[in-house]
Symmetry: C2
Subunit: 469 residues, 2 copies
């Protein structure tokens, strides 16, 4: 059983290092969609890996729970503990040093408290690109991106956060520092502790710094918004693009007409790319080096696709401004969703070749709940949909929200039947911990409990998140 984080603990930490800990401002106890409220005894804001070690060592000795905190943008409650003894909240916000940039080997070493936008900008200054790209990049921190294995819009070409990380420095629950900041592309020396920490959502330790991969900045970009007859045509279009533009397709986003409806209802200032409403659309982008000719090659693929009936209408961005306008449409969808208010939101993935069938079956099955509206959109190239169910146009969410548990269960059961994932990129946190137990592979869950017990035997790390022992 854990103890609450008290003023005594705060004083103890400050006696070791002045200014390390203090009371918890309310902002650390809220989350982006206002769906949960957290509790917290004290807030520690270490300035170095040694101070992180001090905090964890002290919390281990006092048996106090620790909730690691990045930018606070997580959507599954991994950063919020709602009940039990008040934890220490460990924010990495003061660890923002850029430790190293190597444009020859294409690596960057950053501390966990840098925002994703700051990492992108440091890469840019070195003439390179850090390709992780998320709607929340201005406020999320790279430590949180690593802890949750964040995804985003360029995973198709560059991979998830996991694939972009070469090494980590981390502090284990007892305060031991793991020095794993290697910047090597190949290193087969023992078990993959780096990937175990990445995606463990702060439940096994705290990542304090990381070496990340950089890539060449694409010098030529080509972006299109296309109307497609159905998701199956979209998947075929993707396959054709990948064949012709081998390795250069960086984003392939599915957009549904309902998303445009929600935009028109709540953000009429956003200019839509097509005059008429369509059911299914895709936003795709390719990038290449000098002389790659991505623009004309993309055009060739699209012309053939129009001829073959895979594309019904298409606009190719003619300028950087038009490209930005396309992306503004895509990136405003989550805000429009939020303003209308979903009955239930889902972050799911499905094997790409089964996605069209899943979409059709899901739309049909939702009819049992009445005239609800579905906005399914997202990273088709990764098989990852944001699958959100809304009340009928004009009706208040309050009248429909009682359906949430049944809608969620129906959708997750269907995802499971399609060998999909109930959490593609958001993680488990606390909101999906019960679902993980329900849908997870029993052998994997048993191993996870064994690992949690081995690394965090007192259970102080992010109690209740991901898995409990």
């Amino acid at each position: 059983m854990l103890n609450p984080a008290t003023e005594t603990l705060q004083n103890q930490l400050n006696a070791e290092s002045a200014g390390l800990a203090g009371p918890v401002p309310p902002a650390y106890l809220e989350e982006p969609r206002g769906m949960m409220l957290g509790i917290g005894g004290i807030l520690a804001r270490p300035r170095s890996v040694e101070e992180v070690s001090l905090v964890l060592r002290t919390c281990s000795a006092a048996r106090v729970g620790v909730v690691p905190y990045g930018g606070g943008t997580g959507l599954v409650g991994g950063q919020l503990l709602a009940e039990g003894p008040a934890p220490l909240i460990l924010s990495l916000e003061r660890m923002k040093a850029l430790r190293h940039v190597d444009p020859v080997g294409n690596t960057i070493a950053v501390e966990a408290g840098m925002t994703l936008a700051e990492v992108q900008s440091a890469a840019e200054s070195a003439g390179r690109m850090f390709p992780l790209s998320l709607a929340s990049e201005g406020s999320c921190r790279i430590g949180g991106n690593l802890a949750t294995n964040a995804g985003g819009v360029q995973v198709l070409r560059y991979g998830n956060t996991r694939e972009l990380c070469l090494g980590v420095e981390a502090v284990l629950p007892d305060g031991t520092i793991h020095h794993g900041l290697k910047r090597l592309r190949k290193d087969n020396t023992g078990y993959d502790l780096r990937n175990l920490l990445i995606g463990s959502e702060g439940s096994l330790g705290v990542i304090t710094a990381a070496v990340l991969k950089l890539v060449a900045k694409p010098l030529e970009l080509a972006t299109c918004f296309a109307v497609v007859p159905d998701p199956k045509a979209a998947a075929q279009l993707l396959a054709r693009m990948q064949e012709t533009l081998d390795g250069l397709v960086s984003a392939f986003e599915l957009v549904h007409g309902t998303g445009f409806d929600l935009l028109s209802e709540t953000m009429p200032e956003i200019r839509l790319p097509f005059a008429e409403r369509s059911e299914w659309m895709v936003l795709a982008e390719c990038g290449g080096g000098t002389g790659s000719g991505v623009d004309s090659r993309l055009m060739d693929v699209l012309e053939q696709a129009v001829e073959d009936g895979l594309v019904e209408d298409v606009v190719l961005a003619q300028s950087a401004a038009q490209r930005d306008a396309f992306w503004t449409v895509r990136e405003s969808l989550p805000e429009a969703n939020k303003r209308v208010g979903a009955i239930s939101s889902h972050d799911i993935s499905i094997p790409i070749d089964r996605l069209p069938e899943f979409i059709a079956e899901g739309q049909q099955a939702l009819k049992q709940f009445g005239p609800v509206r579905l906005n399914s959109f997202g990273h088709l190239g990764d098989g990852n949909l944001h699958y959100n169910v809304f009340p009928p146009a004009g009706e208040p969410k309050a009248d429909w929200v009682h359906l949430k548990p049944d809608v969620m269960r129906m959708i997750h059961d269907l995802v499971d039947a399609y060998d999909g994932s109930i959490s593609a990129e958001h993680g488990i946190g606390r909101l999906k911990a019960a679902d993980l137990q329900r849908y997870g592979d029993p052998a994997k869950l048993a191993v996870m409990r064994g690992i949690k017990q081995a690394i965090d035997p007192l259970g102080i790390m992010n109690p209740g998140a991901v898995i409990s022992v």
Copy 2:
């Protein structure tokens, strides 16, 4: 303490499933370079994941060690147990089913016993490419590639085996089957058991099948052999190629003049690309889709590099035959090394920007051992060198091999000082288990022991490999 694998165990297994186990033919107790001999009590060759489960369950109950066996091509003794109670050798050679190919989602599901060449060929039949490529691809098995996180010549563009795997089916030491054959690009549901098993060299369980990523086949290829003034120029040339040919550089191999000397001495039939001997050369390849123009774009980069003194001479492959000839030179280097016989061979990696400095310092330091010859070559694009020390030309290895421990220690100490890896792609096996203890991060080693204890508490899995508890 473990018990030996006896005929009683063999009979017990065969009673459950006829023909499952038998005596061990000598071929399973040898390794490619003839450096070690193994022992083995019985050989089990299961035909299904259920039979693998039966074998492990039975060995757990009998406390008998299990040595998983792929193609037997490993170079660090992971497939050979030299002492202690005779183990059961578990060969996956009968599990060769192709379970699924999906050219839309670009995935393939294969059983562990398929050779790498068979996996490549199944991908090819589906109009796709499986990009893992190794000298031993005709005989190594995909299960072994996964267990050791194999690398090879296309890691620069496509990643190590780890990055090419989406999901695994595996059997844990107690016989529990982990059903993790998901073919999803994004799946953030709990700890990364897949990556923990990949690279654990059979010491935590046995991978029986995997879902692998496929990629589009490059429709245009451009390959060059270039003479460079030094490794620093080579690294700069690589950076330029990556900038201009963003994402399309698939191989960038460093070759040393000593390698050509060894070829001339032992395999004079191999035709070398240059008439005169040079110290440093690179073999580079780029591939792209239709209209990517990689040939002329590579030419542009090379012309500028010649002008700037980064390249002294260069041959661009004019035909598929010439491309193959270039690769034959590169792929014959290990065989030439073997025929001459190294005093000591090393599979190391170094941060790419420090590699030139490391090479210079290493060459200097080797002089303390007399007129030995160094052949350092390999995957410069990954910072990975095969760094082999030979006797002077014409002198027998027997007169020099006593230097091995000192040479190895000197090189590994130097690698460690450069924040490099003492095993870039070959793994730890048994040959480097002591080195892992010497050079490994203590926090990581402690976690590794905790994980080994949690997953394999009886210590039956590949005893003595990687780490012991």
